[in-house]
Assembly symmetry: C2
Homo-oligomer: 96 residues x 2
DNA sequence: TAAACTAGTTTATAAAATAAACCAAACAAT
DNA sequence: ATTGTTTGGTTTATTTTATAAACTAGTTTA
């Protein structure tokens, strides 16, 4: 079919992540875990996917001796998200 | 994660089908094929799924000696669609 | 120093999406 | 009347995705 919806965004968890990152600008792994209620494994996989296509940036450092993963949305991610919103709005006959 | 989006609707083709059926009330296989630009096989499978959960009703008759498949949305389908719209609107911070 | 916890990643499995192959009946040409 | 072609689909096989379970590497606590 004539695919309009970016398949990378058309997934509930990835959509939630990007939505959060867009409103917050950046967030750490634990926060995303809590907010999305995803499993750690699933969250990790989906973050990696979003990073691989350049929608987000992941910075790994240490905080209190523990690994600390921070995520930040990239311009490409914002663009893709906005496009997704437009397309699904059309599909569902929503006004933005 | 805390799943909010009905997985049966969170699929582009099924979403398109339901969106069309809601605005048109009913449509035949060929029309849906044309509008969605899906393959026949995919359309057939997704229509069957939507029927199996009671979101749409499928009526098979004959027209000019050929099989003729008509689809119509059911109340349950309308309800599910509306719920989906609400949930994804929240997720994406859209106003309906 | 062993157990338990933190903060993740990797991988195995199940589920889903999709296209390719198929089918039965109708029509068309030979 | 037989062969080929088209219509209007369905079924099935394959690939892709999503997800949870298992694992890793290091830290803290007892």
């Amino acid at each position: 079919m004539a695919k309009k919806l970016d398949p990378l965004l058309h997934n509930e968890l990835r959509l939630s992540i990007l939505s959060l990152l867009i409103s917050l600008e950046h967030a750490d792994f634990g926060y995303l875990l809590e907010k999305t209620e995803a499993s750690k494994g699933n969250l990790s996989v989906q973050l990696t996917k979003l990073k691989e296509v350049g929608y987000i940036e992941i910075t790994k450092t240490f905080k209190n001796n523990y690994p600390y993963t921070e995520c930040k949305v990239c311009p490409k991610g914002i663009e893709a998200f906005e496009k997704y919103v437009n397309e699904i709005s059309k599909l569902l006959n929503l006004k933005k």
